[in-house]
Structures are given as structure tokens and as C-alpha cells.
């Protein structure tokens, strides 16, 4: 059947392989896997994790927590600094699930506590080098006062320390990712050690897909929270944390124009389908996706030299080798492995499996305004 709209295809076998591989790794290392569900945001895909024994998850906002709680998930960490004005919604969720929130200041902890009636677990967000959010790992005064605010609250329970080494995404090599991973583990475990004598069963939680996919040493961590590995994408391929065969999603884009002299193919597939995110393509320039050919029930390996080089709202421009340009016609479709699958899935708001079955994405519902 020809494609008349950009369509996000999901290869269930590849996806389940990705899920299984990380679960096996966590098992080998005796650490808890708490996968981040912000990448797929799908109740259906969530159940594939359950099939591999996953019971604890990570999400990035209260709305997402509410959706997965409604689907039976009972152990949820919202890995985003808590907004104290969300206390009411958090409290209602905490009545039915083990809910864990993040703080990085005594004030936020105290404000949140004032709005709760149920117990909420609290992780302190630690910045171990990324420089986005969290208390710097060596800022003992602020760590002390935040721990103290949680400990003297009525409804919060100190659950541990959480960090996200997002700078792994900027690493120039696999060796640099390994260095970041080692540093992250050393810093988060030193923070945890400082507060361990308080009697709580504290957890040190790390997790980003590049480090978790590549590392084989997790000493110092009790929990990992990778998310992107469920699908992977061209950013991961470029970082060396997966191969193109591990990318489980591709956007089928109808071909709408061909400019053979310029070796360009124009597809219906723009910024509202793929996102404006980029990775460093062949040649070093930022590109938006890698072209594959669609074979009906699968897609091919990457077509060498065929990249999505620019995007406007609905158009995508593919630079392609001569032989691809020659064998493609208007009305055909090409596949694009996206730069960043989390953003692409959020835009697609639903998946189509290679069998043609639709799968949900939370953003395909009216879930944001419940």
C-alpha cells in the first residue's frame, strides 16, 4: 500500500531485542533497570518491557506518570526537578503507586512537603559534570541542607541520589564516553557514601543510553535509567553506542519531487515529523536522518551517501547517490532513520508496526490536558 503521509514505522523484533539486551545487562551486573519511558511514551511498548521483567520505570513529567500509573505501573520516578505547584497531582498519584520525585533545593522540598498527604520518595538531583540541573557533586553545603530538608519533612522519604550524564551525548569517542561513565559513578557514589549512615536504604541512580549501552562496569551504581536504547537513532549510531541494525524506528516518507541534476529527492517528511534535531553526518555537517529503502515488511541497511540534509515544516530534502535518484519515482516512499527518536516519536504521536498494526503514543491522546 502506498504511503500518503509520513508514517513512523516500528520494527517490533529490533525493539524487543533492544529491550531484552539492556535487561540482560542489568541482570548480569545485579543492578536495577528503571528504563526511561519518555522515548517511546507508549502503553503498548511499555508492556514489552514488562515481558522482560521490568517493574520500575522513569518518566519526565507528572502527566506521563499519570498515564503509566493508569496502565498498572506501580513504581515510577519522575526524573525532572519537581514543581511544587504540582503537589496535588503528585499526592493523588502517590496514593496508588510508589512515586519518586527529584529536588535540588531545600526550598522546593519544603514547599512540596506542605502540599502532600501521602508519602513521596525523594531523590536529590546531583550534577556530576553535565552542567544542566542538580546540585554540584562537590557542593557539600547545599547537599547537606537539601538532605536535611527532606529528612525533617513529614511526607518525604530520602531515597537516594540521581544524576544524568547527558554530556555523554557530546562525546567525541567511545573512550570519552567510558571516561564520563567512570567519573559519573565515582562522583555519585561518593555523594551517596556521605549520607549512608542516616539509616535509609539509599540508591545511587545513573543512566543515559550511550554510557549504559557501552559500559560493562557499573560498580557504584544501584540503578540505571537509560531510555533511548528502546529505539536507538542516528545520534546513537554516530556515538558508537549501537549499529544501524539496532535502530528500531524509521519514518516512511512519500517522495514528492525529484531533482536529478542536483541529486536531490524531496519527501513529505519535515520538521513536524522528524524534529529539527541533527547528528554529524557523512562529511561532518549536521544532518537530520539517514535514508534506508523500504521493502514492504522491513527496511534495508543505510543507503550509503543518502542523507536528509535539510528540513522545512513539511518538506525534507535528501541528498542521494545517482543510482538511488535513478530508481526512485514520485509516489514511492523512502525510509529515514531519525537523528533523535524521542523527538520524532513525540511528533508522530503513534507507531505503525511492520505488520501494519497501530501502536499508541501518549501524545496521540488528549493526555496533556486531563
Amino acid at each position: 500500500m502506498p504511503f500518503t503521509r509520513p508514517t513512523l514505522l516500528l520494527d517490533e523484533r529490533r525493539c524487543r531485542d533492544n529491550i531484552r539486551r539492556m535487561s540482560a545487562k542489568a541482570g548480569r551486573h545485579g543492578i536495577r533497570l528503571r528504563p526511561h519511558f519518555k522515548t517511546h511514551q507508549s502503553l503498548a511498548v511499555g508492556r514489552w518491557f514488562r515481558d522482560e521483567g521490568v517493574a520500575a520505570i522513569t518518566v519526565s513529567c507528572v502527566d506521563m506518570a499519570a498515564c503509566f500509573a493508569a496502565d498498572g505501573w506501580r513504581d515510577i520516578t519522575i526524573a525532572f526537578p519537581v514543581n511544587p505547584h504540582d503537589a496535588g497531582r503528585i499526592d493523588r498519584l502517590a496514593a496508588g503507586s510508589r512515586l519518586c520525585c527529584l529536588v535540588e533545593s531545600p526550598a522546593a522540598a519544603t514547599m512540596l512537603d506542605g502540599g502532600l498527604e501521602n508519602r513521596v520518595d525523594m531523590m536529590i538531583k546531583v550534577d556530576t559534570g553535565y552542567g544542566r540541573t542538580g546540585i554540584r557533586w562537590e557542593d557539600e553545603a547545599l547537599l547537606d541542607s537539601t538532605v536535611e530538608a527532606v529528612r525533617r519533612s513529614r511526607h518525604l522519604r530520602l531515597a537516594g541520589f540521581l544524576t544524568h550524564a547527558g554530556h555523554s551525548y557530546r562525546a567525541a569517542s567511545v573512550a570519552e564516553i567510558a571516561r564520563i561513565h567512570g567519573e559519573t559513578l565515582a562522583r555519585i557514589s561518593s555523594v551517596k557514601a556521605r549520607y549512608q549512615s542516616g539509616g535509609e536504604d539509599l540508591v545511587a541512580s545513573v543512566g543515559d543510553t550511550p554510557c549504559c549501552s557501552l559500559a560493562e562496569d557499573f560498580r557504584g551504581a544501584d540503578e540505571i535509567r537509560p531510555g533511548n536504547y528502546v529505539f536507538n537513532d542516528m545520534q546513537q549510531v554516530t556515538l558508537g553506542s549501537c549499529s544501524p541494525r539496532d535502530v528500531a524506528v524509521a519514518v516512511a516518507c512519500p517522495v514528492v519531487a525529484i531533482h536529478a541534476a542536483r541529486r536531490e529527492i524531496i519527501v513529505h517528511g519535515g520538521a513536524v515529523h522528524l524534529s529539527k534535531d541533527t547528528y554529524r553526518g557523512t562529511g561532518g555537517d549536521p544532518v537530520h536522518g539517514q535514508v534506508v529503502e523500504l521493502t514492504g515488511d522491513a527496511w534495508t541497511a543505510p543507503v550509503r551517501g543518502a542523507q536528509l540534509v535539510s528540513l522545512s515544516q513539511e518538506h525534507g530534502k535528501i541528498r542521494a547517490p545517482e543510482d538511488l535518484v535513478a530508481r526512485i519515482s514520485v509516489g514511492d516512499a523512502l525510509g529515514v532513520l531519525p537523528a533523535h527518536s524521542c523527538l520524532t516519536a513525540n511528533l508522530a504521536r503513534g507507531y505503525t508496526t511492520l505488520d501494519g498494526a497501530p501502536l499508541d503514543h501518549l501524545s496521540g491522546r488528549e493526555w496533556r490536558r486531563p
Copy 2:
């Protein structure tokens, strides 16, 4: 009321002023205004255009055409190269509205014609210098054969020639925009002149917000199709085609963390709310938005030196002057004028007016899979 989610605010007065100003300009110049509705994608905002006498519109895909047709719009151009596999849906729409599609090859015209029973107007897409889609304005052989294919079809009517000078968005100055505008008009009108003797009432259609906002000479064009001007955004401000006072949308972002020593404010407002698009901010680096303060029923002028410098999926990092950092607390909200309002609106999937009323966006419905 505090914000617990990133919320796209729409200033109705600014928006109606933007709509009115362009309508008045088109009136002054005696050209048809066919505004592009892909920016707002809102039935409610569409009616504000109707209030200013707009009857003909532009959209970017068949789904969007179907939604606006269902709301009573009867003259719609789909300004995107037609996918011949869409013939069935196009035919159904053409039964109730004047529908105009774009082609840029004889093959696409012939394929489409074969799937139609109703009359569809056809514009030939001309590339007057942007280099994305369309037949190069000087490629007379391909223009001839495409015009010929339309003329000998059973259901297509040659309506004219359409170009989009999207390279105006890359212009370094207002003078360069003026040069692009002049060149565009000269090239599209020369193409139209070549085919004018065929007896059709041919239209030369141009339109992009930078050129249409700045120009005061439209000789050679019969129709303009700007879209972004309905909201404007920081890309337009940077190009010089509007002032920050003309930007009619701002994303209210809850503040979730403050790093005073680094002069950074972390907000809930990430790539899934604003898009990864950028403009050249103060200092020359690409940034994602300009910070304003929210005053309950409006927002302030831009806060000098306060910019959204990086985005992850849900987090935004604002670099801010010391005094802003000092007076903001976790739980407050800041406004962000987006880099690119079309993509931001598509992600928000709905608007909130300054009175607190919700307005629709097509992507807030299940419209993409009818």
C-alpha cells in the same frame, strides 16, 4: 494561577493586529491575500482571518485542507507538491471546494489526473532561487512539458505559477530580503508571461513572511501567501520583518531550578514544547527563544540578555542577567518568545488566550488519521 505545564499563550489583540495589517497591505496593492494556515492550524484563529475578509487560504497537506474545508473554507491551495496517491482524498475535497494543487513534473500531473473525477486547479511550482522544490524558472523545456500535461488532462485546470522564496529566511539584512523579493517577482512574472496567451486567467503567486512584511512593491504578483506573520517569532524579529511587540505567542514555562552562580534558570519547556529550531541570538550563537516576564494578563518586552540557550526533551536552560535570577523563584513561570512559532504551535497542540480561554490547533485532534 501558577503554571504546572508549559503553556502556549496567544495574545489575541497582537494576533488580530498582525492579520489586519497584512490584509490592509494586500488591499492597498490590489493583490489577493491567500494566507498560509500552516502556522496557526486553528479553526478559531482562522475565523479571525474571515473577520478581515479573507476567503482564500493556503495549507500544506491534504489533511489540513480537509479540516479547514470542514469549517467552511471553500477556496484552498495545498502548497506542497502533490502526491498522486492522494488523488482519492483530493477528489472528494474538490467536490465541495475550489481546490488547487501543485505539480512540478508532467508525470505527477498525469498520474493525478487519472485518479480524479472532479476538477482540480493546478499551479506549477517554480523555483525562483530557493533551491528546494519546483521547476527552475529558466528551465523552459520542463515548464513547457508540465504546462502541456496539465492542459491536455481531463480534470486539471492550469491556474498559474507559484513560488516560495524561502531563502529570504537566510538573508543577512533587510536589503537582501528586498533584493530576493524583487528577483522573485521578476522571475515568476516572466514565467507567467510565457504562458499567458493560452486563454487561462493565470495567477503568479509568491509569499513568505519576510518579503511580504517588508515589501511595498508587489508588481508582477497576483497573490501573496505569507503565513508566519499571524504570530511572528524571534526568527522574524532577527530578520527585521517585525518587532518583538508583534510576536503574538509566548510559551509560559514553569521555573524548576535556579543556578545563581552560573546565572542559569532551568524551566520546564524543552524540545517537545518549543522545537529545536534556533535563531541567532545576542552574541551571535544560535538560541531557542527570548525571555519575557509574565504579568498575569500580558507579557513584558524582552528581558535584555535573557535567552533560552539550550534545550533537552523537557528542560530548557535560560542564561539570564543577575537581577532576573535574583527575583525569580522555583514555582514562578517565565515567558519565552519562540524561535519558530509554526513548530512551537504544532508541538503545543492548542493555545491559551490571555483571558485563559483555550483555542484549538489541528494537531490537538486525531485529525491526521481520519
